[in-house]
Symmetry: C2
Subunit: 323 residues, 2 copies
């Protein structure tokens, strides 16, 4: 039996070339939605628009980690959704370490000094001995934890309940879910103690959580107040994790030392958004961990093998949990 793949991505040609070169068994290509397409590879937003014209759909491989467009409860869920995982950890680690070092090494300050012809030999900070807190320790968080340990940091991890990375020194957990399906999965008030213990005394806070109703605005005024004033906040997870006005207030009032944001509630960020000019806030425009076609294709090859064999696919998304 032959399978038909539709690629819905800006880099369609790149993906097609890579997949053709791999000469996968029993795989043909479609160039547009059709009745016999059973596999789709691509960007969740483009796939969402095509879902009505794909009656034979069985499997969607997202080339992104985030699959929000496909989680809308009003649209179909009668296929297996797998996302991109295991390929962003190293890029995210480079990003996090790069911005932590830019902060400790005063990279921007020294460049200003150079412009002003000032010999700025003020003290340099180090990563060694610092404490980093990871909100979320999945495959990306585990890679960031490993890298943080390499540089001699203390690593705290905040997760639902898992303790899978051995590079995390101390775990803090969300409460167990309540059984009341009408409320949020758990009472946000009850999170506070563990989350505040987690935040207390952190040098760096890094959010890597997916976007779910339980992670929205997890970086709020309370959490920001629990951080020491020298703390740096990095968001490489999802925009909605940050309460934007609370962050702006914290930065304006020097409650924290700085923030580095890769993701936002709305992207591209609107021109009139206060983030553009908030002091000590750096933006990186969702470039922290690009989906590299080579990486994603390799992941697709492995999953296609499993698909052919009727085995469970890797990196399946739970439509309810949202990750």
């Amino acid at each position: 039996m032959s399978h038909k793949l539709l690629i819905l991505a800006q880099d369609e040609n790149k993906y097609r070339t890579l997949i053709e070169e791999a000469q996968l068994e029993d795989l043909e290509f479609a160039t547009q939605p059709a009745d016999d397409v059973d596999i789709v590879l691509g960007e969740p937003s483009r796939i969402k628009a095509a879902l009505g014209s794909l009656p034979a759909l069985r499997w969607v491989q997202s080339i992104w980690a985030g699959v929000e467009p496909l989680l809308d409860p009003a649209i179909r869920r009668d296929y297996v959704l797998t996302n991109a995982r295991g390929v962003f950890g190293e890029l995210m680690s480079e990003y996090v370490i790069g911005y932590l070092l830019a902060h400790e090494r005063k990279i921007f300050q020294r460049r200003e000094a150079q412009k002003n012809k000032l010999w700025d030999e003020s003290d340099t900070g180090t990563l060694r001995g610092k404490t980093i807190g990871l909100l979320g320790v999945g495959s990306i968080g585990a890679e960031v934890a490993l890298t943080a340990k390499f540089f001699g940091m203390n690593v705290r991890g905040y997760t639902w309940s898992s303790e899978t990375s051995r590079h995390v020194d101390e775990y803090y957990h969300l409460m167990e879910p309540s059984m009341d399906s009408n409320s949020s999965l758990f009472d946000k008030q009850e999170q506070a103690p563990a989350l505040h213990r987690f935040a207390h005394g952190l040098d760096y806070l890094v959010n890597i959580l997916p976007n779910t109703k339980d992670t929205r605005k997890i970086i709020n005024a309370e959490l920001l107040n629990a951080l020491p004033p020298h703390a740096l906040v990095i968001n490489v997870g999802r925009g909605p994790a940050v309460d934007e006005s609370a962050l702006i207030e914290a930065l304006n009032e020097n409650k924290i030392a700085g923030a580095v944001l890769d993701v936002f509630e709305k992207e591209p960020l609107p021109k009139d958004h206060p983030f553009w000019t908030t002091p000590n806030l750096l933006m990186t425009f969702h470039t922290a961990a690009p989906s590299l076609a080579e990486d994603i294709s390799n992941l697709f090859f492995e999953n296609y093998e499993l698909f052919l064999e009727g085995q469970p696919l890797m990196y399946q998304v739970d439509f309810e949990k949202g990750y």
Copy 2:
């Protein structure tokens, strides 16, 4: 028998407190040069000025790696000179990785974009798969090599003859010394082939060599021409290793992508030096790896133990070689 220590350093009080707390056996302190001082700990430049008033001097522990002021052939060498080693590797690694990531991640470009309210999602580079060349693989170079391997780089090492770090993938060597004591230790012309093979195709060139007559201007026009135009040059070794006018020309003509300099022929850099405004040149004002009093004191404690026991001291400097 009791020993008398003189501390000649800007951080004298800090060192004295740390050493007093360690309650070393048979050790007293002097507050100025005196006939019975047999040990000096401090900065080479300050020690040089005191050498004439220290008749009982037996051992000098430099708190810096570089000991040039004490290598002047016109001044005494009738004592054991040890320098600071084994304590700068991690700091140097943070510095090198920090600036490599600033380069790959376009940290300055994205900040400019933010100032101009531009959503700059241009491609991000990665360290993975890049090739770094280390000029000098002593204890610092070995630590940089380890860190480079952690980030998935290919590592080349250029050394006199040693191949001590297993984190270097490929070694390139200086020629063996000639026996003619009137010439340089080796003919610079003969270095060229190995040095050029080393430089060919490098993404990053990092100098960590000490300052000796054989390392002066090792980064010259020829070497810079051998690098690809996307290469980044970092100097954390010694200023004289760089032929300054050749570097300025290479940057002005875009023969290389950029340079990051921590050290200079003359420090602080004179106000009228062209480096201040050379394009794609970043300066860090000799802050890459500060001598931390805690680190240096620990090194002094270990050496003092050996000194008491009459054992050879660690990190002895060969006055002839200069390191």
